[in-house]
């Protein structure tokens, strides 16, 4: 079932209607298992003690925030280059979800930082980059809402999304240059994660769980978006019908 098969909205609606319940079930299962491992099984950190458990939601949320923006960028290419009819639907559905995950990453990061650094918010490199990403999400959503006609807005927002995506590495590098207070990125170190497996496994399970949850939410949001466009098309028809019928 290639991407083009999904191009047809109704086929997408019928396929997604079948897949979504299973996705929700899988998400609940994996997240339940992940939370159990994160909260109960995994050991405490010798320095931070129990607060390290916040990592099990902070890191997946931050990854999901990044992942969603990447998905939006890919969808934007779909809108601009392949003119895929569902590309804008996918991007528009992903933005609020990505923004929510980024917000969660910010709040959990702040809560995680308070006991360690003694301040609610520390302008360290990674948290600040996530904050800038959050602002870019708000920009995308605001621009989408500024257009009434989704077809016209799609291309314009797609350009903003791509421009934003290209700038993410630049922002990341410059923010790190601006401040190197944050502890070295343990998970992304070249020589592999420095975390013991007993911590890494729960983290990866949580990451998988959150990803499945994201796909379930994203497909549901896409369905809403398709319905919203059908309502809009019918409202236009209603107005035209009244005009042509000379009622």
């Amino acid at each position: 079932m290639g991407l083009t098969d999904l191009a047809n909205p109704t086929r997408f609606m019928s396929y997604s209607a079948r897949i979504i319940p299973w996705l929700w079930a899988l998400a609940v299962l994996v997240l339940g298992f992940g939370l159990y491992m994160a909260l109960v099984v995994s050991p405490e950190d010798y320095q931070q003690g129990a607060t390290v458990r916040i990592m099990y939601i902070h890191v997946p949320a931050a990854y999901m925030g990044m992942g969603a923006y990447t998905l939006i960028a890919i969808s934007s290419i779909g809108t601009l280059v392949w003119r895929h009819p569902l590309a804008d639907v996918s991007a528009r559905a992903a933005a609020p979800i990505g923004a929510a995950f980024t917000f969660v990453a910010l709040v959990t990061g702040s809560l995680w930082g308070k006991p360690m650094w003694g301040a609610w918010w520390v302008w360290d490199a990674r948290l600040t980059s996530v904050l800038v990403l959050f602002l870019m999400y708000l920009g995308l959503i605001a621009l989408w809402r500024a257009f009434d006609d989704p077809a016209r807005g799609a291309r314009i927002v797609a350009i903003l999304a791509l421009v934003g995506f290209v700038n993410i590495p630049i922002i990341k590098y410059s923010v790190e240059w601006w401040n190197t207070l944050h502890q070295p990125a343990s998970l992304m170190r070249r020589d592999g994660p420095s975390m013991p497996p007993s911590m890494l496994v729960p983290l990866l399970v949580m990451l998988a769980g959150v990803s499945v949850l994201f796909v379930a939410m994203h497909l549901s949001a896409m369905r809403n978006e398709v319905l919203r466009r059908r309502v809009r098309a019918m409202q236009i028809t209603a107005a035209r019908a009244a005009a042509t019928a000379g009622a």
Binding site: D148, Q235, I236, A238, A239, R240, A242, A243, G246, A247
Partner: protein
């Protein structure tokens, strides 16, 4: 802008303002409506409420339709009916006004989906929804199709038959506007 302009219109009659573009037909309408300050001369509605300025006893239909795209058709009309009359507008009256201009079944649609003609009719519905003795219409037939114009003439006819006054700036001959005030450009 004007000088030596004087006119009078009895109840139940309509006055048509004619003249080339830019001669000031719209400005004269806005002046009567009280939107523009009058340097000299008097403006008086014999028989109207004495202390109430003319503008508050008149409807003004300008080139713009005063509609908000994000509000629905009936919300737009409901707002103006309440705001201009000071009383809560009953839904039946609003629906009746919408039917009078032929867009009754678009009531719940957002106004952004209306065509120019339909928006013009929604603006006209304001006149049907709130009773005011004097109507000032600035090229009311613009953007209206044949059916729309028929409804407009019916509305104006009803208004005139119960003693209302209409002052209309127009380029087109209107059946209801018999007496004409031709404005010439200043030499």
């Amino acid at each position: 802008m004007f000088h030596g302009v004087s006119f009078s219109v009895e109840g139940g009659h309509a006055l048509a303002l004619r003249g080339p573009n830019g001669v000031g037909k719209s400005s004269l309408l806005r002046l009567i409506a009280g939107l523009v300050r009058m340097d000299a001369g008097t403006l008086e509605l014999a028989g109207g409420a004495p202390d109430v300025p003319l503008g508050e006893q008149a409807h003004y239909l300008g080139h713009l339709d005063a509609l908000k795209p994000s509000l629905s058709v009936i919300e737009n009309l409901g707002f103006w009916a309440t705001f201009l009359s000071g009383r809560e507008a009953a839904r039946e009256d609003l629906e009746a006004a919408l039917d009078a201009v032929g867009i009754g079944d678009l009531a719940s649609l957002p106004a952004r989906y209306l065509s120019a003609g339909q928006r013009r009719r929604l603006a006209l519905a304001r006149l049907a929804a709130v009773r005011r003795p004097v109507w000032m219409l600035d090229e009311p037939t613009s953007a209206l199709d044949a059916d729309g114009q028929r409804l407009l003439f019916a509305l104006v006819g009803a208004h005139l038959s119960c003693g209302g006054i209409v002052v209309v700036a127009t380029h087109v001959d209107l059946p209801f506007a018999t007496t004409v005030l031709a404005l010439e450009a200043m030499r």
